[in-house]
Amino acid sequence: MRKVLIANRGEIAVRLVRGLRERGLQSVAVYSDADRASLAVQLADEAAYIGPSPSSESYLKVETILDAAKRHGADAIHPGYGFLSENAEFAAACRDAGLVFIGPPAEAIRDMGSKTGARRIAIAAGAPVVPGTTAALENITEAKAAAKQLGYPVLLKASAGGGGKGMRRVDREEDLESALRDASSEALRAFKDGSVYVEKLVVEPRHVEIQVLGDQHGHMIHLGERECSVQRRHQKVIEECPAPVMSQWPQLRAKMGAAAVKVAKAAGYYNAGTIEFLVDRDGNFYFLEMNTRLQVEHPVTELVTGIDLVEWQLRIAQGEHLTIQQEDVTWTGSAVECRVYAEDPEQNYMPSPGKIEHLREPSGPGIRLDSGIYAGWTVPMEYDPLLAKLCAWASTREGAIQRLDRAISEYVLTGVRTNLGLFREILADPIFCSGHISTAYLDEFFARRTPRAACPEAELAAALVLALPSNEPRATANGVRTSKWATAGRTEMMR
């Protein structure tokens, strides 16, 4: 392996350029129109144009990506996450084109890609699963019978699903029919497959996942867990290692790790992968699904184990033996990651694409930033809103939380809205700090949240800057601004 094409964009493409360079390998970044001169493109050794901005016309086009690899003389492809990373046909096409696919075998991607198929494999491997159907529901009658047997509340899920699409909670039988219809049509739109199955709903579950790593010679280990319960719209926003729940149930990591390795082995898996579990309030865990790729939140595992996942992905793809034994893996200290999204949490997480005006990124002790942006970069509206991942490591969870808050206090990012301010509130929340969180945490936090008190000194500092002669309020790009103040002032005058 000498040159690797990165079939992705954004912060993960930057992560991969870095990992390749550190191994002495050349990198080829691909770019659509919207990603011309992106950070990854700038940092990579080579750059290949792959088409218009919509991902269906660029990042998802198998032939175009393979052509670019050929044109640049790449001998391997790393798919990152999202896009083609869990597309078995793409993995197979790479192999057929004589390219190394840096990931699991196409067969394992295909087998674990169907939620019901994965459930069957997990059950056969002896891993606990949430009670439910393994086959797609054929009709409402079958659905009613299955739900009745499981007992309400139940959860409808898309067989081909992910990211919360095609998912519906149902509390009563009378709601089942319409929920089934909605879930199925949403699944059809999202995945071109309307199949839906039903599971018992685990109440207030924690979302805990296990990182596995295996070579092509049958050796596989786990690197412990990541707690990913803090989610919005079924998307993770804060992840950490160790999971706070591990201090409550000391044997849980070993048990979940062993289960994860068994499932992955049963699927004929190699390279890096993640088994997602739900953990209930009694410390029981249930197999949920497998992500057959590098995970967004892999840095927290790297920080706590000291094991470089991208390095091992590359070595394993080249046929090397994984020289780490299970007993060599240790977990030191605590790492917390927050995903910096271009969105406005105050307006139901409305996306906020646009041009980055000012940017000063935090650093210093214990901080790792995986960022895909720069000042002057226009965050495209076509892709997901992840700008950067900010991680803090410290010897204790409390220390990591304080350090992450410190880093956010230094983080200057204007031009687009972000969730950085929300993170500071969460990191100061006693319930988050206690570690007693579930997937319901963030909605619950929003419900009881009180706005931060305005500090008159900060307002005065802002007012002084705004009062500077060269900074008089002026018309925005979108036309004359009608200010609330002017309105208030006029109202006063009319009295």
């Binding site: 694409p353 204007t414 301010g421 900060a458 802002a462 705004l466 609330k484 208030a488 002032g489």
Partner: protein
């Protein structure tokens, strides 16, 4: 120098005399000596008495103090009488795209009667669909967009009266 301030919707007063500033808002009045230094275009360091602040002012008027976004605006009272724009839109509500994106669906047509909070148009950006709601009850007067159109932030999509 005197300025009027609107901070988080509350009116206040700023008075600057040489290197001293007085700020009054609600029941609170604070006075400090200060210094300001521009560090980069749009970025400032402000010392207020003993305290140190980092202030960013973006081209769009957004202001961020020590990493926290503040909703603060400042006006010169002498300019107020002349800034009479906007009054003509009284009763008329323009619905603008809150972000660049693609129109997925327009849920209303001209002359439709809408409730306050009723969904009127669905915009997609960053793989997320966002339903825009009518800020008031009224009648749809204009529909200036259509499904699949690409829109810029601030572009007027509908007019409701």
């Amino acid at each position: 120098m005197k300025r009027e301030v609107l901070a988080h919707g509350q009116p206040g007063n700023l008075s600057i005399d040489g290197s001293s500033a007085t700020y009054q808002r609600d029941e609170v009045t604070i006075a400090h000596d200060f210094e300001i230094q521009a560090t980069e275009p749009g970025m400032y360091w402000v010392r207020l008495g003993n305290r140190s602040f980092q202030v960013m002012r973006s081209a769009s008027g957004q202001v961020v103090v020590d990493g926290q976004r503040l909703d603060v605006e400042v006006y010169d009272p002498r300019n107020l009488r002349t800034s009479g724009r906007g009054a003509s839109t009284h009763g008329r509500q323009e619905i603008a795209a809150p972000m660049p994106g693609k129109i997925v669906r327009v849920l209303v047509a001209v002359d439709d009667v809408v409730e306050e909070g009723q969904g009127v148009v669905v915009v997609e950006a960053m793989k997320m669909q966002n339903e825009m709601k009518s800020p008031k009850a009224g009648t749809v007067r204009e529909v200036r967009t259509r499904a699949d159109a690409t829109v810029a932030a601030g572009e007027i999509l509908l007019v409701i009266e």
